[in-house]
Symmetry: C2
Subunit: 194 residues, 2 copies
DNA sequence: GATAAAACGGAGAGTGTCTCCGCATTGTTG
DNA sequence: CAACAATGCGGAGACACTCTCCGTTTTATC
């Protein structure tokens, strides 16, 4: 009656299962990038050389798959936060991170809908991603507030919403420029009143 | 060889066609509000007591239907712009209009995806709506710039993007509050530098 | 009321989602 | 390594939604 036994039974996947899982992820990443976020899941399964059942067993919903595909990238944002905070002044770090966010979205425009679910409310699927992004923006904002160069009542989540929103918006030819100008406006509007 | 004859042949609809068209619009408005933006179009047709063919004849795409359903509401935004401009200081008018936009979206959260297509690029379908909204924000921003209380390089379209983006973002419990705080930040960030 | 034009409607083809379950693979045990 | 249980596979098929096509019905006109 010892050892781990009760609640979380994190079974080890059989080797073939691991292989398939990875294959699906690889194919999905390509497919999402090339053909947009609503590529047929059955197609992805086929391209990965597995049956539809296998895909759905590994990723119960489309969101779950998207999340898995982009998890590593989200983690990069968290890392960047730490790095920028160490290197730049509070406000500059915040600005730089926001710009990074924009660039990062531009490359993978697909994930915007996914990120959206992120601020939507408790959703098991995105729990991990959420805490990363949320943690990053909170750290940045708190530090900036402490430095006195940003208004005290600034809600980190508001900025996150704005960023995600802007990312969500259709990407015309000048999307990136527009997004960057908006980051400037947001930063400038975040300064203390008077 | 006289009279209008060439380009725009705006045929008058047969009375049954008019009736059906209206019925579809009514049902669609309800359905969108109650069951979200991706209610089955066949269901809407059924609820309106017409065949699927009829629905698609009147509205070639889902977007076209959404656009038609919300056209009047978008027009209200254009009217409000004029009214606010006449009554308030340039910056206050801008702020008020943006807040109105937020409220307006809150009520019909469905149209966000539609509005999105609006900034996406030339799309016949949304031409009318686009020109309304675009005209409104441009007038407001231009006036505000002229008054000197807003930076000269402010792009009206940027603000529009931000508004739509924020509207697009999932509506949690405090969505409205957050959106309103963001409008404040945007306005404040739009002031002239220094 | 006869005729042509306009509009209708719904069956069905095409496509995507997701489940179910008989069969195959894996890894463990003696 | 044989044999067995657990684990995982896969794809057929049920279901849902979109959109079209065309024979039938309704409307407007004379």
């Amino acid at each position: 009656m010892a050892h781990k036994r009760k609640l979380p039974p994190p079974r080890k996947l059989r080797t073939d299962a691991q292989r398939n899982r990875q294959r699906i992820l690889d194919v999905a990443r390509q497919a999402f990038t090339r053909r947009g976020a609503n590529t047929s899941l059955d197609d992805i399964a086929k391209a990965a050389g597995v049956g539809a059942g296998t895909l759905y067993r590994h990723f119960e919903t489309r969101d779950a798959l998207v999340e898995a595909v982009y998890r590593t990238e989200v983690e990069k944002l968290a890392v960047a936060q730490r790095e920028l905070s160490a290197r730049l002044s509070p406000v500059e770090a915040l600005r730089a991170w926001m710009l990074l966010f924009v660039d990062y979205i531009e490359a993978k425009h697909i994930i915007a809908p996914a990120l959206n679910t992120l601020v939507a409310g408790p959703s098991k699927v995105y729990e991990a991603s959420r805490s990363h992004v949320q943690g990053a923006i909170e750290a940045l904002v708190k530090r900036a507030i402490k430095s006195g160069h940003v208004r005290k009542d600034l809600e980190p989540f508001d900025l996150l919403r704005a960023l995600i929103g802007v990312s969500y918006v259709a990407s015309g030819p000048d999307w990136r420029q527009s997004a960057r100008r908006l980051v400037d406006i947001l930063i400038s509007g975040s300064r203390p009143v008077k």
